[in-house]
């Protein structure tokens, strides 16, 4: 899948787009996405000088964008999309640094009309972060 | 036996590890038992046995087996 296609589906562009490659996609259900981290990204400069580490919030945004890709790839909206959601749990297990390739695996289930997402991220096979999320969709058509 | 079961359960729940791997388990043997995992384990052990461990004991707590010795000092019996 090309970057333009990813941008079209989740309505997010550089410098906020945190997906580089889509390895697997089952529209509406699951996806595996890759983001490579390079020192040449703006957030490393401030986090931290001399000891660059990917901020937790950027990791989460990365994982959430993979989730959005999985979900919105089944639709065809032209308008920009707002999503309000509730995240019961996020756990950070290991730090991610420049040069790491983050692989995010997304599973979406519909439970009693509520969207639940599970996202787990790995670097070289080791689980670095996981989150569970409840989505409330709100979009303009 | 109850105490030993509870002790083992803390390890299994803290690290998501199989019971068969417990007896030989040492600090840093698995990614989950790093410095952060260590503090989580100590907090869970303290809660399970209603004890508060001294700093030296927390530092000495370097394996599943060693931990049994240390927790016994707090008047917790692991014998039948």
């Amino acid at each position: 899948m090309k970057i333009e296609e990813i941008e079209r589906i989740i309505k997010i562009k550089k410098p906020l787009l945190f997906i580089d490659k889509v390895v697997e996609l089952e529209k509406g259900n699951k996806t595996t996405c890759i983001k490579l981290f390079t020192y040449n990204e703006n957030f490393f400069q401030g986090h931290f000088e001399g000891n660059p580490i990917v901020p937790g919030t950027i990791l989460i945004e990365c994982m959430l964008q993979s989730l959005k890709l999985a979900y919105f790839s089944q639709y065809d909206f032209d308008e920009e999309v707002f999503l309000l959601f509730y995240i019961p749990i996020v756990t950070f297990k290991k730090r991610v640094i420049p040069g790491d390739e983050l692989k995010s695996e997304v599973m979406i289930t519909l439970l009693k009309n509520e969207l639940m997402g599970e996202v787990r991220s790995f670097v070289e096979g080791i689980n670095v972060c996981s989150l569970t999320i409840k989505l409330n969709k709100k979009w303009k058509i | 036996m109850e105490n030993l079961k509870n002790y083992s359960r803390v390890f299994i729940e803290s690290f998501g590890i199989d019971e068969s791997k417990l007896s030989s388990l040492k600090y840093q043997d698995i990614p989950e038992w790093d410095s952060v995992g260590h503090m989580g384990l100590v907090a869970s052990i303290e809660e399970a046995f209603n004890i508060e461990m001294e700093i030296d004991d927390i530092i000495d707590f370097s394996s599943f087996e060693k931990g049994l010795e240390i927790v016994s000092k707090y008047k917790i019996s692991f014998n039948e």
């Binding site: 309505k11 997010i12 562009k13 550089k14 410098p15 906020l16 787009l17 703006n42 957030f43 400069q45 401030g46 986090h47 931290f48 000088e49 000891n51 901020p55 937790g56 919030t57 950027i58 989460i60 945004e61 959430l64 920009e80 707002f82 309000l84 959601f85 509730y86 995240i87 019961p88 749990i89 996020v90 756990t91 950070f92 730090r95 | 600090y27 410095s35 952060v36 260590h38 503090m39 100590v42 907090a43 700093i55 927390i58 530092i59 000495d60 707590f61 370097s62």
Partner: protein, 159 residues
Amino acid sequence: MNDNLANKGLSFDIAGIKKCQKNRYPLLYIDKVENVIPGKFARGIKCFSYNEWFFPAHFKKEPSVPGFIQVEALVQTFLMTFLTLSEYKGKKAMGLSWDKVKFKRTIVPGECLIIESHLVSFKRGIAKGYSVSFVDGKPACSAEFTVVIPSVLSKFNPK
């Protein structure tokens, strides 16, 4: 950094904030911190201006603050509840987990986020607490945090 009257707590400008925590531009998401009771409470303020790097991309027609930036502001205010203690100033802190992250409204350029952070427990280098935030008095984002100070944790490491 001013020392206000005891019952108003401490205040920190950007220079003061930078002495306590290691986040820097472009990842420093609080402008001012007030009413700080070190070891207990902090009130942070983050003003959002269109002139920030993320607005043009989020989104072109209707800019709003991305969720992860809101959470970053909440975490950074939370850090000020314990990194303002003299023995912890400037120490590196790492996020361990977030719980119950809720987003209640969109935030747009021109709005100011007021964040109130509470430190619930801080033992052996592990800080637990929560932040709630408001725009014009109405609830915005809230979350619970567990943050660790690795240099303190390492004192408890088995040898």
